[in-house]
Structure formats: C-alpha cells, structure tokens
Symmetry: C2
Subunit: 210 residues, 2 copies
Amino acid sequence: MAERPASPNRRTNDPEGLRQRLVDTAFAAFTTRGYHSSALHELKREAGVTGGALAHHFPTKKALGLAVIEDRVAEAVESTWITPVRAATTTAEGIQEVFTTIISELERKGVVSGCPLNNLALELSREDEAFQAAIEAIFLRWRTAIADKLRADLRVDRACDFDFDAMATLVVAAYSGAMAMAKATQSVAPLKVCGEQLTSIIRNQTQQGR
Amino acid sequence: MAERPASPNRRTNDPEGLRQRLVDTAFAAFTTRGYHSSALHELKREAGVTGGALAHHFPTKKALGLAVIEDRVAEAVESTWITPVRAATTTAEGIQEVFTTIISELERKGVVSGCPLNNLALELSREDEAFQAAIEAIFLRWRTAIADKLRADLRVDRACDFDFDAMATLVVAAYSGAMAMAKATQSVAPLKVCGEQLTSIIRNQTQQGR
DNA sequence: CCACAAACAGGACGGTCGTCCTGTTTTTAA
DNA sequence: TTAAAAACAGGACGACCGTCCTGTTTGTGG
C-alpha cells in the first residue's frame, strides 16, 4: 500500500512561474545590492527555491544575470522611459514626466538604489562579452527612442540643423549621471536639477529651430 | 658565528613608499576591475607585498578602499577636471579641453574602464557610510569648482538669472553618464557627443545672458 | 649598546560562494 | 500503462578570499 508517503508536502511543477520568481528576485537583488554582492544562497532563500531548481533553470550565475538584463532591465527601461516619452505630446514634456515620476517614486521609497541599467552596466559590461552586448543593445534602443521622438517634434514644422541623436545621447547620459550622483548622495536633488535643465534646453533649442 | 644568515635578501623598511605602492596598485585594480572583483592576494602579488605588510598598513580591505578614494580618486578628479577648468579662460573652453584630453587618452589606451569616481560610487556608496561620505565630498568639490568657474565667466559683465549650480550639476552628470555609456559600448563616441553638446549649450546660454 | 616599537615575512584558519552530483517526484509521450 | 524526460530536493565538494596570528628584521630613543 504505501499510500502516498503520508503526503507530507505535495509538489507542483511550475517551471515558468519558478523561473519568473527567480528572475524577479535576482533583478531586485542585482540592481540594489549589486551582482557580485548578491550570493546565490540568499537569492534561493528569498525566492524560496532550492539549489536543484536553481541549477536546473540557470546552470550558472552568469546565465541568471543575463536573463535579468534581457528580461527585466530591458523591460524596465521600456516601461519607465520609452513608453512615456513616446506617449507624450512633446519630447520635453515626456522627459519632464519621466523625471517627476521617478523622483516621486524614489521619495516614496526613501532610498536611491540607482538606475538598474547603469548599475549593471558599470559592474558587468567589462566582465563578459555577453553582458556587454545585452547592455549595449538596451542603451541603443533607449537613445533611438528619444531621438525618434525629437525628430517627430520638429518634423511637424520644417527641418533644421538640430542634431537629434546627439541630444538623445545627452539626455541618456545626463539621466544616468544624475542618478549616479543621486545614489552617491542619497538625494533626489541631482535628478530634479538635471530634469529641469534638460527640458529647458530642449524647449529652447526646438523653439529656436522654428 | 652566524654572520648575517647568508644575507639572502636584505630588507629595507620603507613604510611610506610601500604604502604608496599599495594604494597605487589598488587604485588601478579597483577602478578597472572593480572593488569586489579585486582580490587582496592579487593586489599583494601585483604590488610585490606580503600579507603581513598589507595587514600592517591596512587592517581591512575597507581601509584600503577608503585610502584609494580619499588619496587617489580625489586627486584624479582634481588633476583631470578641476585644475584644467580653473586654468582655462572660459568654462566652455575648459570643459572642451577636458573632454578632448580624456578622449585622446582613452583612444591611446584602447579600452574604456570608466570614471574612477563613478565606478566606485555605484559599487560602494550604498555599502558603507564612510565610502559614501568620501565619495559625496569629491562630487561636491567637483560641482562647486565648475559652478565657481561659471560664475566667474559672467561676473566679468553683469549678473543674470543663470543658474550656475544647476549647470555645474548637469555637466558632472552628463560626463559621468557619457563615460558610463562609453564603458558599456567600449567607444568614445558618447563622450565626444556630450562634450560638444555641453560646450555648445554653455556658450549659447552665457551669450544669451550678455 | 640596548631595550622597544615599528615594519615586514609567511602562512594558517574560518567562512563563504558557485558549482555539481545523486536521488526523488512530477509530467509527458507513446 | 509505462518508459523516459523534465522538474525539483538537498547537500557535498573544492576553490577562494579576507583576516589574523606568530615570528623575524629593521629602525629609534635613551
């Protein structure tokens, strides 16, 4: 007989859900504590996952990190930056909205952990080619989306000698750097300042082109 | 009677020199490979220092990291940014000069390791309060120096509503972010673009204030 | 010349981390 | 129904790393 050995703890295989839970936990840990400072045994505990399950889905830590970048970090940039900017009526308004949203979010949380993409870019891009390629692709999509929006702003009227790609690069750089300073000083002040400066500059230059 | 045991390797005590050699090696390692990715046994080998000597000068790795930040990183910001900007005739020219210097230096080396301050800021500022305080102080000096130079630019003529501190923050943020992108893409293009954009913006705005 | 502290040598020790291995359970395919 | 693969449990193993400890040598003040 041996009717289900006392049926102590029934197990339900849920490969997709477990994988998602793992990547979610790893994303939170990697973007706040950092990749190297996050031990796998901590992730296992936080996600409620055993070593066997982890090894089954991600044979190595690098595989988990790559999944975090390609699945979560890319999505984070998409939802917090690209989508709002595309939806805004003008680039300047979109950027302003992104900054205010992020700032209020940070003030609510009380701590500044930094930009997920930037954090992992500085820690991992020089460590492995796969990491670098994944991160570079996200930066490219980010810049391209802003440049396209800037182009759309002015094409309504006429063409001018405004350098869309250069301005998009400056926006991404200023945001990343401002977030880095915000993390270093644990204050949203750099973000507020840079957000206002950027929108003011874009408004000036697009006005000028009319 | 035991005349100097074969005098195999004469030892010369040089506390200051050994300390400098250690901090130099650690600075190079921490700013290129990262703090956590640099093992002490590697630093010992690279600096030609034994464990006892290391422990004597720096009882813990954190103490070594703090010395690197306070001694070398602060000096690097001073020599590559603050001094050239102060010496330039105008802020825009100073910034342009800093960017071109750094870009040609990177092209000569062939690899982009990132801004030392920014690298350590993102990795360590949230890990220890001493790290954060030291890094924050450097950021403050950096921003203040640029803001002072901007003030000096315009005080030659008359006062205006130009926000010096905000522009200085934007400059530091844009540079840090551009260097982060340069590191992620292993290309100096973001630095070139942001350098040109920044100087162009500053020239426009200071011209406007006249 | 002589104590005494500073400067350094060299290695041991405990803890941690990533990986892998063996076994068990669940699901799928035939 | 049954064989096989996928999904998971749980822990062992080896490597690595930061710290500390005991000894030896060099400099210094009296």
